[in-house]
């Protein structure tokens, strides 16, 4: 089994095919979209592939250490950042192919006009703990 992170972006991803902002959909289209996301997560829970899913607020700040005895420096909101993460789902699947298949399915969530959004999702494999049997037999 291998874990994958599926990342959804507020911005930074290439534009989706069905590119209409959510507040310009009909209320029913919004409900249908949310239902699709619930059903997708529920299905993965049933197949034993769901690990976690969370959404992030669009606003946050950059923070860094500013030396001994000084409060951290903060900056933000992320006005100039190109990339802004909206949320994630972590899955635990048998293969890379399966991860790609599921991301494709998630990207098909319906949007305006009830048609798939074709949203670009970022799929990133986890760097897991090394296997008990070393990959290199001489290692």
């Amino acid at each position: 089994m291998a874990k994958y992170l599926m990342l959804k972006h507020y911005r930074g991803a290439p534009a989706p095919v069905n590119n209409v902002p959510m507040n310009e959909w009909t209320p029913q289209e919004i409900s249908d979209h949310i239902q699709y996301m619930h059903d997708f997560a529920a299905k993965l829970e049933k197949t034993g592939e769901f690990v976690d899913g969370q959404a992030l607020a669009p606003e946050g700040s950059w923070v860094r250490y500013d030396g001994e005895g000084r409060p951290p420096v903060t900056d933000g909101p992320f006005a100039e950042t190109k990339d802004l993460i909206a949320g994630w789902m972590i899955i635990d699947v048998d293969s890379h192919e399966r991860a790609i298949e599921l991301a494709g399915e998630l990207s098909a969530a319906p949007g305006a006009g009830g048609k798939p959004i074709h949203e670009w999702l970022e799929v990133r494999p986890f760097l897991a703990a090394p296997p008990t049997i070393p990959a290199c037999p001489h290692g």
Partner: protein, 385 residues
């Protein structure tokens, strides 16, 4: 005996162990073990005296746990130092534990966790599941909390207000895992009300009951939020409402008004209305005036502006709203609502979208996005006609 009844014995059993000389942290672990054992054994072999059984088993566990050489020496000292039998404190045992677990030296999250375990009798696993953190994390939080209060003497009276804040936090956490924290908060507040006569304890209990009564009607089958005005009032729990109103009336009759009683009074006025249109908004505004006087909170002023909008019209609401700080939580949502009521739909739609952007949770974000979508869809329809 159901689990709730069993857990209601937790604080007095714990207090007995502490009075016998066990330190709080070890006693709390021992009581926790005894509760787990009780859940295992009692269904097939119920004890005649549940509390006596718990005390015996917990004390044995405590002794087992302290059986090392160092501990034995300490135990011998304890026996020598054991205080004379008889009343050791004027304060009720259960009440002392509430004060200890809400001690001001604890952070809010630690106070909540310790209260749920030492007063509520929940297991660490249940508390962890309810707060969606790993069990090991919650175990650490609880043991740190116990260390923090280890030097606090149990016979010192505490501040009821700190206890109420902890119970309020538990209630607001809602529901996840196999423990319903809202129900647990109501149980703990009711138990507190039984050992201390304080109108604000009654006020908080009434507030919880009145909000809990509406819970089933607050979400649609698809999980979306249903605003108060659109709720199916037939789904409200009338028994809980009657209970809450009665508790509140008794508290208000004592003429020592506080924040929770005033909040409960507002909830009671909503519960009392047969429909949204029948709501007594004028009286609700008066209660908000009391709340402003008691708390001087900007959040209260924001909610008051909504009530003024209902009582005296959206223009009056917008006027009450005008002086508030735009950085307040839900500022844009309130602005959107008042502008919609005032007939300015494009402004309302824009503000709903902004409010969705700033929403503190997903359910609210989805709700606000739907509000924006509803107004935008109507705008498109009007242009097309």
């Amino acid at each position: 005996m159901n689990e709730g009844r069993l857990r209601s014995l937790t604080p007095s059993v714990l207090a007995i162990l502490v009075r016998r000389g066990a330190d709080f942290a070890a006693a709390e672990d021992a009581v926790q073990d005894a509760l787990v054992e009780a859940i295992r054994v009692w269904p097939s072999d119920p004890p005649r005296d549940p509390k006596g059984w718990l005390v015996t088993v917990a004390w044995r566990r405590f002794l087992d746990a302290t059986r090392s050489e160092v501990a034995r020496r300490r135990r011998e000292e304890l026996i020598e130092d054991e205080p004379a039998p008889g009343p050791t404190s004027a304060l009720d045992d259960t009440l002392q534990l509430y004060f200890l677990c809400a001690h001001p030296s604890l952070t809010p999250s630690s106070a909540v966790a310790l209260t749920l375990r030492a007063v509520g009798g929940l297991t660490t696993r249940q508390i962890a599941a309810a707060y969606l953190v790993p069990e090991a994390t919650m175990a650490q939080r609880i043991s740190r909390a116990k260390r923090t209060v280890s030097d606090v003497r149990l016979d010192q009276p505490g501040d009821v207000a700190t206890v109420l804040r902890v119970l309020y936090l538990v209630f607001n956490e809602g529901y996840s895992g196999d423990v319903d924290l809202a129900v647990e908060a109501i149980r703990l507040t009711r138990q507190l009300a039984a050992v201390i006569d304080h109108p604000e304890v009654a006020g908080l209990l009434a507030l919880m009951l009145l909000h809990h009564a509406r819970r089933a009607a607050r979400t649609a089958p698809d999980g979306s939020l249903v605003p108060l005005a659109e709720q199916d009032r037939a789904r409200w729990d009338t028994a809980a409402i009657a209970d809450g109103v009665q508790i509140l009336q008794a508290a208000l009759a004592r003429d020592r008004l506080g924040e929770f009683q005033a909040q409960a009074a507002i909830a009671a006025l909503h519960a009392d209305a047969t429909g949204a249109a029948e709501t007594d908004w004028v009286q609700i505004v008066e209660w908000y005036d009391e709340l402003v006087r008691l708390t001087d909170s900007p959040v209260v002023r924001l909610n008051r502006a909504v009530a003024v909008g209902e009582a005296d019209g959206p223009r009056a609401g917008l006027a009450a709203f005008a002086t508030l700080d735009p950085a307040l939580p839900r500022y844009a949502a309130v602005a959107a609502y008042l502008h919609e009521r005032d007939g300015d739909l494009p402004t309302a739609a824009r503000l709903y979208a902004e409010a969705a952007h700033r929403a503190p949770n997903l359910a609210e974000r989805d709700h606000l996005t739907r509000q924006a979508a509803r107004l935008n869809a109507r705008g498109v329809a009007e242009v097309r006609e």
